[in-house]
Symmetry: C2
Subunit: 193 residues, 2 copies
């Protein structure tokens, strides 16, 4: 079986911030970025997201298969129902519409095997939606193959960085494509490892 592909999606300011504070919602990103993100999520089987980020976007995320990374999950918690455990859920185009029930799972990767979970579920394309600790965890653990980075033409001056890490995590990428999303100059960059 082919290895799953892990695709991080992030919007940053010119100064590399993903938010002003932990509870800051992504109201500051362009509508073009939001449209792009939704289209990309439609092509993914599941989302990896941190608990804080999940809470800031429960409504849109509850329509999709989510693995929520959480330090407080002592064991794997599966909150959704109506799906046989271990059965592959195909990519979904309409979320909860059409009777489809997405799967919500809480996983502490220090206590449960995240890679095995993804293998068991049969997920092939996984979107990583942040926040900073989740992006850093994935980068560090070889769970970040591609990065879609939208650079919004705004500066915050301070805030939450793309990666939150105590150690250096030096890694090289290669720019695959560039797309200007609007007149103001929101820029969508696609990088691969």
């Amino acid at each position: 079986m082919a290895r799953p592909i892990y695709i991080a999606i992030a919007a940053v300011t010119l100064d590399g911030k993903i938010a002003k504070t932990k509870s800051h919602m992504s109201t500051w990103t362009s509508k073009e970025d939001k449209l792009f993100m939704r289209a990309l999520l439609n092509k993914c089987d599941a989302i990896i997201v941190g608990n804080n980020t999940y809470k800031t976007a429960i409504k849109p995320l509850s329509k999709r298969n989510c693995i929520v990374l959480s330090r407080s999950a002592n064991k794997l918690i599966s909150k959704s129902s109506g799906l046989t455990r271990g059965v592959y859920s195909p990519p979904f185009k309409g979320g909860a519409r059409g009777g489809y029930k997405p799967r919500l799972e809480y996983c502490n990767p220090k206590k449960s095997d995240l890679k095995k979970l993804i293998r068991d579920r049969g997920y092939k394309r996984i979107a990583i939606l942040g926040g900073a600790q989740t992006y850093a965890y994935c980068l560090k653990n070889n769970l970040l193959d591609e990065l879609y980075l939208t650079i919004e033409p705004i500066v915050f001056g301070k805030g939450i960085n793309l990666f939150e890490s105590r150690k250096f995590l030096e890694q090289k990428f290669k720019l695959d494509s560039i797309k200007k999303l609007n007149r103001q100059g929101s820029l969508l960059l696609h990088y691969k490892k």
Copy 2:
């Protein structure tokens, strides 16, 4: 007299870092970025640079008119000689070659009037070379009209941010142009206020 133009030049990683540590020299940036920077500096009359950054690049910077921002400068210190005070030095193409002596001045902007100094010197185009505190000072004090941001396709994971500020400094920009500098995908972005 037209207001001087302030142009910040910075190279950042994908995660918005300008260096790993305060003493980290810019050995990690692409040669294309260095060539671009040199060409742009040749079109500027003077450089504003922080004391730490100046120390990491004394040799190339000593060929150019520099205003070094330093908290320890109690009054304006002019270290270069051979130039009549207050006389305009035209843009220079070859640095110290040809008998031209660049002007080196240390300024604490809390104690000396930086804008008046630049007016007195007749500088028309000023390049801001960082580091993080200097970029933030200029942004905060309306001394940052344009930003040339080179995004190198590398991640550090942690390090020095583009701006170092205790307060939010939210400001919008407009993307003016995009240039891919090399095959790996170093990207030169030009933003204006």
